[in-house]
Symmetry: C2
């Protein structure tokens, strides 16, 4: 290995207005020096693209700082230590970091987490065994609090989070209704044990979606796991049962609106049905990580939790992977394979 | 007293489309027989009009059945027993009932509650010491869970519920910001100890209201007690702090929309700020009645809870009283004095 290394990375070229386009991203190369004292060099093997990243592309104060124009984007990645002068890391260690969207990086170890895979593929720690999995686990169980026999509705059911929510809800003895945007996705969800599926593209207007949900959940919805927003939220508000819970995890249908769309016209259901709507960020629920990993270790070998990946190859295709999140181009976890 | 008695009552003549008008109501007279065995005759002295009644005028399944066309409306009332053949009631007893919107009625005692006034005016049991008071108490304390030093924002602050919320929040050591629709109402709220008041009529567009709220609550809002909806909810969603709570008690700005208006465009704040929005109906919180009465018995003599009434005279003016709820014609509790 030479003393320096070239790493390609994706930078934010411009803040997207509405749906991002290729010109909002820029592929650049940086030369990494050899790691200094207390530093290590990591080559990323997989990186994650997630819907929440869209919000960081706006210049708006939120729970994470905005991405900076001209700088590499950030996100979860799994990588391998190529060389290390850091006492806690050795060559070939696997590490989880927030230094995605680049092929390699130098680190002083801050924010890096050594990865023990317990026999799972390393990229599972960007999905089922990582942030999306814990989001599903904490959001459904702690925020949604489903009881056995209740009906759980999951929008975006074939996504990285939604597909895990569906399966945990089944494990907990719930009736599960899920929506997704293609017949293939719906068929996959059925194969996972989801009781009723709705291909929302076949119910394009609001009243059709409302009717489809009422037909799929004739006894009403007790927990709505919200990934989508828009018409889905309107339909759910109509279908909710008394004391229903709405776990607001994502509102992806609106993330690329150049001007924000109006909210649901039927929020009055929150009063009459005494609904609880609560926002979910996984970072608040790190204390559940132990329980989550323990449960997963039982559920995965028992075949109770399955997952899919949709993979793009190469850092140059990371923007394409990201955009697929908004066009329904992914089933399960959207990943980019690097190196 | 003769064997029969004439009682005038207000019936629903037609289901209002949008803002109710006089022609949606009908004044009628019924002849009440003398009470039979196990019955009593009650003359109402005060009746309540409340915003929630608007929803019962629609033919829509909700937490209470719709009012029936051609039948007398219903609502809380205080009355005096004129004669009784019922073992539990004697002449001159005061009773609380749901048999408002009429001057008198015969009852077998079902749903009647004997009223002990503890020195309060009897009509207070339609307001501060009744359903609106318990709504404020349970909604703020159980659903809103304010902590000392937090900021509470109350829309419709000069209403029957809002004005009690403001004062309980002050008792609990919160900073209180309230909105109301006139300078007089705002002045009254200031006299009650409210820290900052917003006359929302001076901030007619959404961005002006948002700016006014941000100025009044520079450290953000921790608990929003929602009586109004519309622009108020948009402004509150922007001003909420992390882990804020929105107690959804009423959405009066939309109750008379012939077609429902869109909801807030900024619901995404629920995720980023991990807000909890929860619907409130007082009927779920009857278990707090003992605590509420006990606290009130201390707070009222200490001058910590004050109230106002706006009174219309005579059953024929009950529709006028009801309509004043939607035009800002009431300060504090809107009542109709009967008999």
């Amino acid at each position: 290995m030479s003393d320096t290394m070239i790493s390609r990375e994706i930078r934010l070229a411009a803040r997207p207005n509405g749906m991002p386009t290729a010109s909002d991203f820029e592929l650049a190369s940086v030369e990494l020096p050899a790691p200094g004292d207390g530093e290590l060099l990591v080559q990323n093997t997989w990186m994650s693209v997630d819907p929440y990243m869209r919000a960081r592309m706006m210049d708006r104060k939120s729970y994470l700082p905005p991405f900076q124009i001209g700088k590499a984007l950030e996100g979860h990645a799994v990588g391998k230590v190529l060389s290390s002068n850091h006492p806690d890391f050795t060559k070939n260690d696997l590490v989880l970091s927030m230094n995605g969207w680049r092929e390699a990086f130098i680190s002083d170890g801050t924010g890096l987490q050594k990865l023990e895979t317990y026999g799972l593929p390393e990229q599972a720690f960007l999905g089922v065994a990582g942030m999306p999995g814990l989001t599903a686990y904490a959001g459904l169980l702690r925020v949604g609090q489903p009881k056995e026999g209740e009906t759980v509705f999951v929008s975006g059911g074939a996504g990285a989070v939604g597909s895990i929510v569906c399966q945990i809800a089944k494990i907990k003895g719930c009736r599960v209704v899920a929506s997704a945007g293609s017949d293939d996705k719906c068929a996959w969800l059925k194969s996972l044990g989801v009781d009723e599926v709705i291909n929302y593209k076949n119910h394009a207007d609001q009243s059709a979606l409302m009717a489809a949900l009422k037909a799929a959940a004739p006894e009403g919805v007790d927990v709505y796991f919200e990934n989508v927003g828009g018409d889905h939220l309107v339909a759910a508000l109509e279908a909710m049962n008394l004391f229903g819970r709405i776990v607001v995890c994502g509102l992806i249908s609106g993330y690329n609106d150049a001007a924000p769309k109006p909210g649901p016209w039927n929020l009055f259901n929150v009063i009459g049905k005494r609904l609880r709507m609560e926002g979910l960020l996984v970072s608040d629920h790190q204390d559940m990580l132990g329980d989550f990993v323990g449960d997963l270790a039982a559920w995965v070998p028992a075949g109770k939790i399955k997952w899919q990946e949709t993979v793009e190859d190469g850092i140059e295709n990371a923007p394409t992977a990201f955009l697929k999140l908004f066009s329904g181009g992914n089933t399960g976890k959207m990943l980019v394979k690097l190196g």
